[in-house]
């Protein structure tokens, strides 16, 4: 336990700003999770692997001489088709079955994807340098890499575009209708199979954008996918399905929590504290609900 952070108020500002910028990115991934959970009723453990794969696409652009920021355009396009392909290959068989089947099947996909990425891209920790420079605030006391600010802005822009698309386009309406009642939507002429494929593709595209942003702000490694899945799961269960401001807020809250736990417990316990927070949140909610003799549904 290191209480340095509470003795230096400027560190609190630093950690909070870092956490908020990071949390916006988490919220974007969690939005994709909430989308497929709400519409298709599956939990995708391979979400984190999709993110890392999107990051490797941006990294691939970087090593072939293109600025990695273009990854935010290239990566979602590739990932969309990959997501649709994944749906056609496996996911459509697990959509209307028990949720545990979807968890296990996507767990299998995630193990498969990890090793494939490991053999294709190698097991080194890589980072795509963006050379965006650094912003200094408060008389050089707080340092913010511009790449982080850039990634938060892009995440926000993407989120706004997505929400608008969901609200006003025809496909967005069809997706929302399917989420409300798949059977009724089918009767009224919505091709739910296509809607599911598009939903999974959009989710993969979101992961692609997030991955490209992670490639320029943080580091990439084939085996770090699962924490992103757990983070997005946690954000969704705290916020609830279909609660957009909640997703954004709890995403930022999680980011701030992680930065603070870095200062308090040290970076080696970062992943452990994320997973433990998930357990604590679930147990807390379970005890709160069990007073009314209910349980998490």
């Amino acid at each position: 336990m290191d209480l340095l952070i509470f003795q230096n108020p400027i560190l609190i500002v630093q950690a909070s700003l870092d956490g908020i910028l990071l949390g916006i990115l988490f919220a974007l991934i969690a939005y994709g999770m909430a989308l497929q959970w709400g519409v298709m009723n599956i939990i995708n453990i391979a979400q984190g692997e999709l993110v890392i794969l999107g990051g490797y696409i941006a990294y691939f652009l970087y090593i072939s001489g293109v600025h990695p920021a273009f990854g935010i355009i290239v990566s979602p396009v590739i990932m969309y088709f990959l997501g649709v392909g994944m749906y056609k290959a496996v996911i459509y068989r697990v959509v209307d079955r028990d949720m545990f089947i979807s968890i296990l099947a996507t767990f299998g996909i995630s193990i498969l994807a990890q090793q494939l990425m490991n053999s294709v891209f190698g097991s080194d920790v890589v980072v795509a340098q963006s050379n965006f420079g650094t912003t200094f605030l408060f008389n050089y006391m707080v340092t913010l890499p511009n790449a982080k600010i850039f990634s938060a802005c892009i995440s926000l822009i993407f989120a706004v575009i997505l929400v608008g698309y969901m609200r006003y386009s025809k496909l967005g309406r069809a997706i929302r209708a399917t989420a409300q009642n798949a059977r009724a939507a089918k009767i009224l002429g919505v091709d739910t199979d296509k809607v599911y494929a598009a939903t999974f593709g959009i989710n993969a595209a979101i992961c692609g954008v997030a991955g490209a942003l992670i490639a320029i702000t943080f580091t990439l490694h084939p085996y770090v996918g699962l924490p992103y899945t757990v983070r997005s799961f946690m954000i969704v269960i705290v916020a609830g399905l279909g609660n957009l401001p909640g997703v954004a807020l709890s995403g930022m809250g999680l980011g701030v929590f992680e930065e603070f736990s870095d200062y308090l417990f040290g970076t080696e316990f970062r992943i452990a504290s994320v997973f433990l927070l998930l357990v604590l949140i679930l147990v807390f909610r379970r005890f709160k609900l069990s007073r009314k003799r209910e349980y998490l549904k």
């Binding site: 296990l104 193990i111 498969l112 379970r286």
Partner: protein
């Protein structure tokens, strides 16, 4: 009567197996460990309907506790891990067996208490929330073990080597083989007995409808926790044995391997047919053969093959081998098929 004869035949086969195939002693010992893991996973996943990824916590806990007891009884644990262990301190044979005996007892008892403690919190969750929560627990345990200095942090620690002076490595293999075999037989017989009592019926009632079971006046939480205690007991011992057989304990890859053993136990039970007593055993043996094949012929691609196997089993074959046999030969399972009314029933469902 016939099944009893087959059972004794298989036990005798298991007893003489290390002399029939002396080169595969370690592999067969690991196979019995896998059988124990699958059988105890099935207490939650199959009989109780609580799909857990968290039994791996007890595995790693047992592994670390057993090794720490074995070393800590005779030597300072911190110096052992810092000095790379076995070079500076040497167990003589008496110390080794005392340590192993006490270590296995500790590895069995402590996970039971841990199961009570965490079970009270998270067994109130249901369905996929329980699954994800236990998944998080398993990985958090591995990450935490990787941050604790006295057990070697991320580098891991060695468990005490086989004492010099008594026998060779052949004897070591046979020794651990028989302990694993006895553990497997014990857990099988215990679970067979437990499923035949009211306990097994309550577990099945919880699986079928927990609210109704509660309304019938059953304290479901008590039974869920005792189910988990049973699993923790056997998995803890299995972990302690595994740590001694491998000889090296590393937090993420061997002690809390959520990505390998944690998924294997689920897969084995599903492959064999969850909710049956024999199914997990068949599944574990079949899976072990598959796995060794993958690891031998597709080295470098083994996890790709494993991931594909998980997807295929889960998506196309969720009933498992026993479920398939039950569909094919219902009479063997004591089910009467009413051919006359069969068609109408199929149409109804």
């Amino acid at each position: 009567m016939r099944s009893k004869k087959i059972f004794f035949l298989l036990v005798i086969l298991g007893l003489i197996a290390p002399f029939l195939f002396p080169a595969f002693k370690l592999q067969m010992s690991i196979m019995w460990i896998l059988v124990v893991l699958a059988l105890t996973w099935d207490v939650q996943g199959g009989q109780m309907g609580y799909n857990t990824f968290g039994n791996i916590v007890f595995f790693g806990l047992g592994m670390y506790l057993c090794a720490a007891t074995q070393i800590g009884l005779f030597f300072p644990l911190g110096e052992w891990t810092a000095a790379g262990g076995e070079k500076t301190f040497v167990h003589n044979s008496e110390q080794y067996f005392q340590g192993l005996f006490l270590g296995l007892i500790v590895a069995a008892i402590v996970p039971v208490f841990v199961a009570v403690f965490i079970g009270y919190g998270i067994l109130g969750l249901r369905g996929h929330y329980f699954a994800i929560c236990t998944l998080g627990l398993g990985i958090a345990a591995g990450e935490f073990a990787g941050g604790i200095e006295i057990i070697g942090a991320g580098q891991g620690m060695t468990s005490p080597p086989w004492p010099k002076g008594i026998g060779n490595t052949e004897l070591r293999g046979e020794f651990f083989y028989y302990i694993c075999f006895v553990l497997m037989i014990c857990s099988f017989l215990f679970l067979r007995w437990a499923y035949s009592t009211r306990f097994g019926l309550v577990l099945n009632a919880i699986r079928d409808n927990e609210d109704k079971a509660e309304a019938m006046g059953i304290n479901t939480m008590k039974f869920k926790i005792s189910g988990w205690m049973v699993s923790a007991f056997f998995v803890g011992i299995a972990g302690g044995l595994m740590g001694n057989m491998i000889g090296y304990i590393e937090p993420v890859e061997t002690a809390f391997p959520g990505r390998t053993f944690g998924v294997f136990m689920v897969l084995m039970a599903i492959l064999g047919g969850k909710g049956t007593l024999i199914g997990p055993i068949i599944g574990a043996i079949a899976f072990h053969l598959f796995k060794e094949g993958f690891w031998t012929f597709f080295l470098g691609w083994q996890y790709v093959a494993l991931g594909a196997l998980i997807v295929i089993v889960v998506v196309f074959f969720p009933e498992g081998i026993m479920g398939y046999l039950r569909e094919k030969f219902p009479e063997r399972f004591g089910e009467v098929v009413d051919e006359k009314n069969r068609k109408s029933q199929v149409e109804l469902s």
